[in-house]
């Protein structure tokens, strides 16, 4: 399969980050659906199965991203999810998916710090989609 066969759902309430992420993904060759809120993402998920999803952590509520991960995985357990956030590592509020306890409650496949370069993001996505 080639990249243009995959549709990626991106949810982020920061319009600039959303724009940049989506245009990066499109340049890499993926198809995208972009939404600006948890509510919109939920309505997309209810009607459509994306091949991969990238969720911002804090949208309407502080844990919007976690909720979306949970909803998506319940409906489509096989669809990979990337959780992206600008929450700083240095303040200690970081969630790596390395420990078993974190994995058990964060239902994401990757956790990425915002500001990641488009090529890095593409690398991660190719791994998750096994391209």
């Amino acid at each position: 399969m080639k990249k243009s066969d995959f549709t990626i759902l991106v949810a982020d309430d920061d319009p600039d980050y959303l724009f940049q992420t989506v245009s990066g993904l499109e340049r890499a060759g993926y198809r995208t659906i972009s939404v600006e809120s948890q509510a919109e993402a939920e309505s997309v998920i209810s009607k459509f199965r994306p091949d991969l999803a990238i969720f911002d952590l804090m949208m309407e509520s502080d844990d919007s991203g976690f909720i979306l991960c949970y909803r998506l995985k319940r409906k489509y357990p096989e669809v990979p999810v990337i959780l992206a956030t600008a929450v700083a590592h240095e303040t200690g509020m970081s969630f790596s998916l390395d420990s078993e306890t974190d994995k058990s409650w964060i239902r994401a496949d990757r956790y990425l710090e915002k500001g990641i370069r488009p090529e890095q993001l593409d690398q991660e996505i190719m791994k998750l989609l096994k391209i």
């Binding site: 319009p15 600006e36 949208m59 700083a88 240095e90």
Partner: protein, 378 residues
Amino acid sequence: MAVLKVLVIDDEPGIRSGVSRILNNFNVNYPFMDEDYTFEVTEAPTGEEGITIIDSNKPDIVLLDNKLPGIQGVEVLEYIRNRKYDTVVAMITSYASLDVAVKAHRFGATDFIPKPFTPQELKSSIENIAKQLYLKRITNKLNEEGRKIRYQFLSVLSHELKAPLNAVEGYLRMMQERQSGNRIDDYETPIERSLQRIQGMRNLIMDLLDFTKIRFERKEEKIEEVNLADIASGAIVTVQPYAIQMEVTVNLIVKSDAVIMADPTDMEIIFNNLVSNSVKYNKTGGKAQIILESNEHEVMIAFTDTGIGIKDSDRESLFDEFTRIKNEKTRNISGSGLGLSIVKKVVELYKGSIEIDSKPDIGTTFTVRLPKNTNILT
């Protein structure tokens, strides 16, 4: 109902069973405690057995005889201190030599219960200890919460500061890699958006400065007679460019003289924030109004708008730091999420109050009441 675990270490079986009998049916309560304390007693005839129980059971209170068959009471006490257990120790002793008493005190024994004791004596000692424990735990809890709040503030702050940097960085990269073309005109939107994000960040930093001002400055020499009508006019002038853009008309109605003793900077913080909100969250062509009124004791300032309003469910968190109500209507409105939390802190500093009355899609009124004469330094 909270249970405190008591361990009695004494070689006299009579004392041990006596303590068990008395405390198992005893409970302690005070008007300021939200629950009663009851007691669960375990017994140990020697210091060695006592230590085993202390390690496994972590008792809240240890009643300790000094004269024991093996290791002595003070040694058990020393053991507890070295392990830094959160345990209160009371010595029960028939003859307290000064030497033992001094040593026991140095190792942190909080109480001495002389043997023989009556049930009432034991109960009143235990009551005191339970009270101490309760206060200590409440204090710890409050300290921890204080730390947590500060920590949360910092992590949210760093999130808020990083988001605009990430956005601008992303746009600069797009330009560096010439992703949309080779001409500067191809990047009009990224440039415009970058400038907006930088402005947003500047506002956040200004708000943060206000925020630290209220928190740390106490300023006797800055208190003066302030005419709030002047402050209101100033705030209207400041917001004017934005109001023109939004086609919102702002007017001031002075029903009665509103002069109070205050630091004018504090009053500017209140007015600038609330007036700019009533423009920012208004509709195109809407109205914003400031009404000043006063009586003998206080001034009342009403900030009314014909804007998008606030849902009841959003009111609770409205004054929290970094709270931004996120929905369809607020999507394109930028803000630091600090404005209202700052306003509230200033109002509280002056021992005033702030109230909201709001209907979604119809409008919001913030009413601030400030006493005319408060000494904010007390």
